[in-house]
């Protein structure tokens, strides 16, 4: 399997420049996206290009397996690899869906107020799912709880009732690209803001809010 895959590059201002990845590099990217999503408290930017390419990859592998001779040892190894990739992909998508459901009013609000040109956290399909989940849950709450209550208690403000992701939670990370002058806000009012440098290869335990943009840019990897 030496085919290479085209993937749009990460520079959103340069338009979509094609980046060519080997299958191994693609799976690396998938695993990185998977770990970031697992450990980040909020829903991260959607990576549907990676999802699509990985699914194509799985399709190819399945076709190759079907053509292969039965009993060939390579078959079990490829099957195991396919199961592993399918697990990582499914886990990644499940993780995203769970966050969408958990924070649904905030996720939709963020999408509504997104500026033109800013990347979306949701893929079009996830957006449709989120909208349906909201409509379904609102209808249910209205039918069950509110119908029987006096008018002064009838409004349900989901934005207030459903908690937001806790961006102050701590995460472990490994630095991929050296960063200088990262501003760290201390937890208590008595301490002052201070500045740190992040050396390449170093690992840190830090508040997610401080390094959120670095996760998005790929400068750090959550572990």
């Amino acid at each position: 399997m030496t085919e290479e895959l085209d993937l749009p590059g990460q520079d959103s201002d340069a338009g979509s420049e094609e980046v060519v990845l080997t299958p191994a590099e693609l799976i690396d990217r998938l695993e990185q996206a998977w770990m970031n999503e697992k450990f980040a408290p909020e829903l991260l930017e959607n990576k549907s290009e990676i999802v699509e390419c990985v699914m194509e990859q799985l399709q190819h592998m399945e076709e190759n397996l079907r053509r292969a001779k039965k009993g060939d040892l390579k078959v079990s190894i490829h099957q195991m690899e396919m199961e592993r990739i399918r697990f990582v992909l499914s886990s990644y998508l499940r993780c995203r869906l769970m966050k969408i459901e958990k924070f649904f009013p905030h996720v939709l609000e963020k999408e509504k107020t997104r500026r033109e040109g800013e990347p979306s956290s949701l893929s079009p399909e996830e957006f449709a799912f989120a909208r349906e989940y909201m409509a379904n849950t609102e209808t249910y709450l209205k039918n069950v709880a509110l119908k029987h209550m006096p008018p002064n208690l009838q409004k349900v403000d989901l934005l207030r009732a459903v908690p937001k992701p806790d961006l102050d939670s701590y995460v472990f990370l490994r630095v991929k690209e050296r960063q200088e002058n990262i501003l760290v806000e201390p937890e208590t009012d008595e301490q002052r803001d201070y500045v740190i440098d992040l050396e390449e290869g170093s690992q840190h335990l830090i508040r997610y809010k401080t390094i959120a943009p670095l996760v998005a840019s790929g400068a750090v990897q959550l572990i």
Binding site: V51, E52, M55, E56, L58, Q59, S76, Q79, M80, E83, R84, R86, F87, L89, S90, S91, L93, R94, L97, E101, E125, E126, A128, F129, E132, Y133, N136, T137, T139, Y140, L141, N143, V144, A145, M149, N152, L153, V156, A161
Partner: protein, 163 residues
């Protein structure tokens, strides 16, 4: 005790002689409304909690709920569940370019390709690979592809025999 305050207000009104109107008990009324609000919010959170459990059932049991569970659900909850699983199915079908991906499978990281399983209940014919099938009878043991067994293990039909 809940509703004590509300009962007290009602009793006050009844105790007043015919035609007399006792002073408007603003404080009492406020307390009752606060209690109602607290009860309402607790009820809402219980109701929402049930919804989250029902959602979890889709992921644990599959799209067909066992009848015992369905008995315990209200009509509105059933409606929510049906909409939820339809929405989920639409989303999963949209993944990739072809038939989509069932992400309710592959819930655990794969360890072995094949696993030893014991059948806990009579199930009948079960298709495995390329057309071959096995007869799942109670207490029979089989060596089957892990991916195919996951759902049945979760449903309690098969049991993973760990050597």
């Amino acid at each position: 005790m809940f509703c004590e305050r509300a009962m007290e207000l009602v009793r006050e009104l009844h105790r007043a002689a015919e035609g007399r109107l006792p002073a408007f008990n603003e404080d009492g009324l406020r307390q009752v409304l606060e209690e109602m609000k607290a009860l309402y919010e607790q009820n809402q959170s219980d109701v929402y909690d049930r919804l989250l459990r029902i959602r979890a059932l889709r992921w644990e049991c599959g799209s067909v709920l066992p009848s015992a569970l369905r008995f315990h659900m209200s009509a509105e909850e059933m409606e929510w569940f049906n909409h939820y699983k339809k929405s989920l199915a639409t989303y999963m079908r949209s993944l990739g370019g072809h038939e989509g991906l069932d992400i309710t499978q592959d819930m655990k990281p794969p360890k072995n390709l094949y696993i030893e399983v014991r059948c806990l209940k009579d199930y009948g014919e079960f298709e495995v690979d390329d057309g071959t099938s096995v007869l799942l009878k109670k207490n029979s043991q089989h060596f089957l592809p892990r991916g195919k067994c996951e759902q049945l293990i979760r449903q309690g039909i098969l049991e993973h025999v760990l050597s």
